[in-house]
């Protein structure tokens, strides 16, 4: 069960890694599928959670964002106002979207694209399969709303895509508004 899973199960200390920014080529590289039992991948899983935790506002972090072209990401949308269904904190390997419906447009920002935001249409009902690091069994996650959007954003990272590849029109990219 995914809700029983916690990063403590990885049994390794996560390290905070540097987050790479576009146009770094790793962000445009299709990630390799990973062996969820490989100790290096288990370490990477812990590192993703640790790096996500120290980054303000960050609800998900994919391996390419820390410079590793691999299909793994961490996610935790707990407490976000747009979250409905929530599976807590987890890391997923080799995730694949198996069902997606009810598209909605919303504005996304990304730690790897700090100067822009963009309007992206994504499914709000979503079913994804994948494997938790340190396990071998394929699990299925069915979710909605913000967790669905976040999952699609991270799965895109794993295949070398940024939200910039999916913006909903020529005027759908905006300079990021940072104000005091």
């Amino acid at each position: 069960m995914i809700t029983d899973w916690s990063p403590a199960r990885l049994d390794v200390e996560g390290r905070v890694l540097e987050v790479v920014r576009a146009p770094h080529p790793v962000l445009a590289t299709e990630g390799a599928t990973v062996d969820p039992l490989d100790p290096e991948m288990i370490q990477l899983a812990a590192d993703l959670v640790a790096t996500m935790r120290v980054s303000p506002g960050c609800v998900g972090l994919a391996a390419p964002q820390v410079g590793v072209a691999a299909q793994m990401f961490s996610l935790d949308v707990t407490g976000h106002p747009k979250t409905r269904t929530c599976h807590g904190v987890f890391v997923l390997c080799n995730a694949v979207v198996v069902e997606a419906s009810r598209n909605e447009k919303a504005r996304e920002g990304c730690m790897s694209v700090p100067d822009f935001t963009g309007d992206v249409k994504r499914a709000t009902r979503l079913t994804v399969t994948g494997v938790l690091p340190g396990t071998t069994e394929e699990i299925t996650i069915t979710t909605d709303a913000f967790e669905a959007r976040a999952l699609q954003h991270e799965i895109d990272h794993c295949s070398g895509k940024l939200f910039l590849d999916r913006v909903a029109g020529a005027h759908a990219v905006y300079p990021r508004k940072v104000y005091q």
């Binding site: 506002g57 960050c58 609800v59 998900g60 976000h80 747009k82 919303a106 504005r107 996304e108 920002g109 990304c110 730690m111 935001t117 913000f146 959007r149 976040a150 954003h153 991270e154 939200f163 020529a170 005027h171 905006y174 300079p175 990021r176 508004k177 940072v178 104000y179």
Partner: protein
Amino acid sequence: MSQLAVTVIGPDRPGIIADVTEALAGTGVNLEDSTMTLLRGHFAMMIVCAGPFDEVKSALEPLRGELVITVRTMGPEHEHAPIGPPYMLSVHGADRPGIVAAVTRMIASAGGTITDLATRLSGGLYVLTAEVELPPTAELETLDRALEITAEELGVGVTLRPAESDEL
């Protein structure tokens, strides 16, 4: 090298962007921010780029005629400091003069600034969409009410909603 503002407008045909940007690329100029769109059959471009004024002007010379082209030197890059959180403003209704003026005046009165605005007219329907920044001190309820009153006078509908992005 100075910061240049290049504007181009003319009746639309295939290849305007290719012609203009090829001429600019020939002088070694890199396009920075630009916006280009089709307005009622006229293609309009606004480009900000850094380059040598005289060379850019003469590279674009052969394109003048059907295209109205201006090249202007601008001061150093003026950093836009956002004044507050972003909002989306939409207005739509029967066309009549003064809609943009009245609505943008309300935004300005609240201390807000507009960073992007487009209007479209199709048949009798007029549509305005804008990105607006409002200072954190702006009284949203008062502004909403002022916009509603203005909209009612104009016979249009207006909505102002937050455009905050989700961090993923």
